[in-house]
């Protein structure tokens, strides 16, 4: 614009208006952040035990959200599709985990044992394989033929697919939440200066951390990961370079589905209850996490997941309460969209012309 001064002069009033708008945006964002910080500090001073307990719960849930959010971010990164069915895939993962631990292995009481660890490991592999293959099948049946279609078409297809998965969950489990599944994880909690920390929380973070590292290693270090990044940048160029685009996209869906399966098992073991429409809620939260961190960025999805988990737990513990849970999450989503559409860690996402 600087090279064309006459256009610059025509646009000058608009530019100052845009600058004023920008200043307004940033100052309101700053005010918002300061307000949230003050609220957090007062909540901490008022009741530090409750605050820290909520924080631990938030970290534990945040790890689960991060696992689901990675599935969104991987798929969005490679074919620019908001995979609405992903949350429901996670729900199927929880149902499958319950099926395999109670019906196949017959876990009928709580408590950790050597057999319990073995059962957990086998269930983890089974859940990852189950959800991964379902996700690949969904891609093959529904999304593959719409890769060249206008964006609205795959998005609506994903909504339809989510309904079909919802139906599968409803048929499998009935409309009532099925509670009281027994866990093979260590029970009980430790107290650290009055702050209650469940052993499960360590466990969730202990499983999630290595999985995320594995994911980062696959995407950044392996040959397949390189191909994934190439396909994400330009499918046609990648094809010309000899990348099998269909297989790479299927592999991405398998990775995302596998993470949803792992999250499903952890959720079933830690929370112990699930219902057929769980996926919709949790999927939206996870997607919000992915967007908050910057969609397409793996680290961003993890950061966003943990942040959303913390915010949700703090809101329930010391904030507005559970009734307003969704409002808080979606308000964050909308604020992020307005102030920083690329998310916290995302790079600029210019609309491809």
């Amino acid at each position: 614009m600087t090279t064309l001064p006459f256009i610059g002069s025509i646009l000058a009033p608009q530019r100052t208006a845009a600058r004023a708008q920008k200043i307004l945006l940033y100052s309101s964002a700053l005010l918002l952040c300061i307000g949230v910080a003050i609220w957090l500090v007062t909540a901490f001073i008022k009741n530090p035990t409750l605050f820290l307990t909520s924080t631990v719960v938030g970290l534990q849930n945040g790890a689960l959200y991060a696992l689901v959010a990675l599935g969104y971010t991987l798929v969005y990164g490679i074919i620019e599709l908001i995979n609405f069915a992903h949350g429901d895939l996670f729900m199927l993962g929880t149902l499958f985990a319950a099926f395999i631990t109670t019906s196949v292995f017959g876990v009928l009481s709580n408590g950790a044992s050597v057999a319990g660890w073995f059962i957990f490991a086998v269930s983890l592999v089974a859940c990852v394989a189950f959800c991964g293959s379902i996700n690949v099948a969904i891609e093959f049946v529904a999304y593959r033929r719409l890769r060249r279609a206008p964006k609205l078409a795959p998005l609506i297809t994903a909504v339809g697919m989510s309904f079909i998965l919802l139906f599968i969950g409803l048929t499998w489990n009935g409309s009532q939440p099925l509670a009281n599944w027994k866990s093979v994880l260590p029970q009980g909690a430790m107290f650290l200066g009055g702050v209650r920390i469940e052993y499960k929380a360590f466990f969730v973070i202990g499983i999630t951390g290595p999985l995320l590292l594995l994911m980062t290693w696959i995407v950044t270090k392996t040959r397949t990961g390189k191909a994934m990044r190439a396909v994400a940048q330009d499918q046609d160029a990648a094809r010309l370079m000899g990348v099998n685009v269909n297989r790479i996209i299927s592999f991405t869906f398998a990775l995302g589905g596998g993470l949803a399966g792992a999250a499903g098992l952890l959720y079933e073991q830690v929370i112990g209850t699930t219902v057929y429409n769980l996926g919709f809620q949790l999927g939206l939260i996870a997607f919000t996490a992915a967007v908050l961190g910057g969609i397409g960025s793996l680290t961003g999805a993890v950061l966003g997941g943990v942040l959303i988990g913390l915010i949700k737990a703090l809101n329930e513990g010391v904030g507005l309460g559970q009734n307003w849970g969704e409002t808080v999450v979606f308000t964050i989503l909308i604020l992020v969209m307005v102030f920083r559409p690329t998310g916290l860690l995302g790079s600029s996402l210019g609309e491809k012309v």
Binding site: L152, A153, P154, I156, F330, L333, M337, L349
Partner: protein, 491 residues
């Protein structure tokens, strides 16, 4: 499209006795259907003897007037969503927010909720269960108020978010569709104030004043009580006609053409001088107006405003109506909304209960499973031999699934989610333009992506009958369905 064609003189065809001007088929057909149903409902209510008992039973089971009224409310909302999704191409997954806002506006202005104020205006006479306190305003004015409030809400929601990419926008609207009902749900304690009565909602509403029928079926001017379904049917039909007319006129005007331009290519449209933000915002606001009217109409239809009626399902149902009927085509959306609402509220429960009563769920299940397998086999054979007929494979699997589950689980299982999901999936995979498409939408949605077009190269130079049909409206108006090599892009 339809109104464009109305100005074209149709070719002279003396062999047809009844000649309908092109573009007038849908309005006349719907008008006739509404009049016939109105006469049936009137005779059935007040002159039962004149209706054969078979027809009466059929009507009570399959076309109850309460469900028809509800379907009309869905039509109103779907037409509003059509402005946003079909005309302007902005995906809105939270349209239920406007429905809720319209409903609560009616609740505040027509019940005893706001008991501190005592304000009456042109309202109906009060019976025992209607308290005198609170704001009571005639429903006809509330209708306008709800529309204005929703338009304002649409602009407020749209203003900060409409500059987002299309799929982000879908998510933000979804967020608003969750926040607003939750706010109403928890609204009984906002900083200690009770604004919405929470889960109890607000009821009863004031009666609407309009022409109605007394006990002998005589036309009188009076209050529409709980039994005045026929009058409400008349009012809802009138509102639907108004919204359809407004949609059609808007579409042909300057604003409508700007919407279509944005839908088809945002960049090109803005280069041609279409103000993006203002045009998108107006689509949002005008769509919200219809949503608000639907909300106020729904409130008097159920005589209550309850927060648990505003769920995400309704947003998706409305979207499915728009997609099924044909995005952007008002008649398609109307038919799609009527059919889906009726299927949802009447047909599926009826089929289920008749399966329950007759105990034939097993037999029907086996029959459907066999039919599904046959369709699947035919589809596979066709696909292997000619690379065609993929839709039959999908259909076969779906029918067989329903059949097998009916056999195993019995008729207690609700197939609503499955049917909805399959409708969305099949429509997007095989008929993206909807059942009653608009020629223009078909062209856009079937347009191959850029790289594919480049890959096809010289093929793209081939004849395009659809384009010819567009430039030669007489052929199109005479009912020639354009078919052609565009099928290539679907397989």
């Amino acid at each position: 499209m339809a109104a464009d064609l109305a100005t074209v003189t149709p070719p002279v065809r003396p062999e047809r006795r009844l000649r309908i001007r092109p573009g007038m088929g849908w309005p006349l057909g719907l008008l006739v259907a509404a009049v016939v149903y109105f006469i049936y409902a009137y005779l059935d209510r007040y002159f039962r003897g004149s209706i054969p008992s078979g027809l009466h039973n059929f009507g009570t089971d399959w076309l109850p007037i309460i469900k028809i009224n509800e379907a009309l409310v869905y039509v109103l909302a779907a037409l509003g969503l059509n402005v946003v999704v079909g005309y302007a191409g902005l995906l809105d997954l939270g349209f239920v927010a406007f429905w809720a806002i319209g409903g609560y506006t009616a609740g505040w202005l027509m019940t005893d909720k706001i008991s501190g104020l005592n304000f009456h205006f042109l309202t109906a006479k009060f019976t025992d269960d209607h308290k005198i306190v609170g704001i009571h305003i005639s429903w006809w004015i509330v209708l306008i108020a709800a529309a204005l409030v929703c338009a304002l809400a649409g602009v407020l929601i749209g203003a900060p978010t409409l500059r987002l990419r299309s799929d982000y926008l879908a998510l933000v609207t979804l967020g608003f569709g969750e926040i607003i009902p939750e706010a109403f749900y928890n609204g009984d304690n906002i900083a200690g104030h009770n604004l919405t009565n929470g889960t109890q909602g607000m009821q009863p509403l004031d009666y609407v004043r309009f022409f109605t029928f007394d006990k002998t079926g005589k036309l009188v001017w009076g209050d529409l009580d709980a039994f005045a379904d026929i009058s409400r049917f008349f009012i809802f039909c009138g509102l639907t006609a108004l919204v359809i007319f407004a949609s059609l006129r808007l579409r042909d005007g300057k604003l409508g053409r700007a919407w279509l331009a944005i839908r088809e290519d945002e960049l090109a449209a803005s280069s041609m001088g279409v103000p993006l933000m203002r045009t998108k915002l107006s689509a949002y606001g005008i769509g919200a107006v219809a949503g608000g009217i639907a909300g106020a109409a729904f409130a008097v239809h159920v005589d209550a405003v309850l927060p648990d009626r505003f769920r995400f399902d309704i947003s998706i149902t409305l979207l499915a109506m728009v997609v099924l009927g044909g995005m952007g085509n008002v008649w398609g959306v109307t038919i799609g909304a009527l059919v889906l609402a009726w299927t949802n509220s009447t047909a599926l429960p009826n089929i289920q209960s008749s399966l329950d009563e007759s105990g034939s769920a097993n037999g029907v299940g086996i029959g459907l499973a066999v039919l599904g397998v046959l369709v699947l086999a035919a589809g596979i054979a066709w696909f292997v031999s000619a690379r065609k007929g993929l839709i039959f494979i999908y259909l076969g699997v779906m029918i067989a699934t329903i059949g097998i589950l009916l056999r195993i689980k019995g008729p207690g299982l609700s197939f609503q989610f499955f049917v909805f999901g399959c409708v969305l999936l099949l429509m997007m995979l095989f008929r993206r333009e909807g059942l009653i498409p608009e020629a223009r939408t078909r062209l856009v949605l079937r347009e191959p992506g850029r790289t594919e077009a480049e890959a096809l190269g010289a093929d793209m130079e081939a004849e395009a009958p659809e384009l010819e049909a567009l430039s030669d409206p007489i052929v199109h108006a005479a009912g020639t369905t354009p078919t052609g090599p565009t099928d290539r892009t679907t397989l």
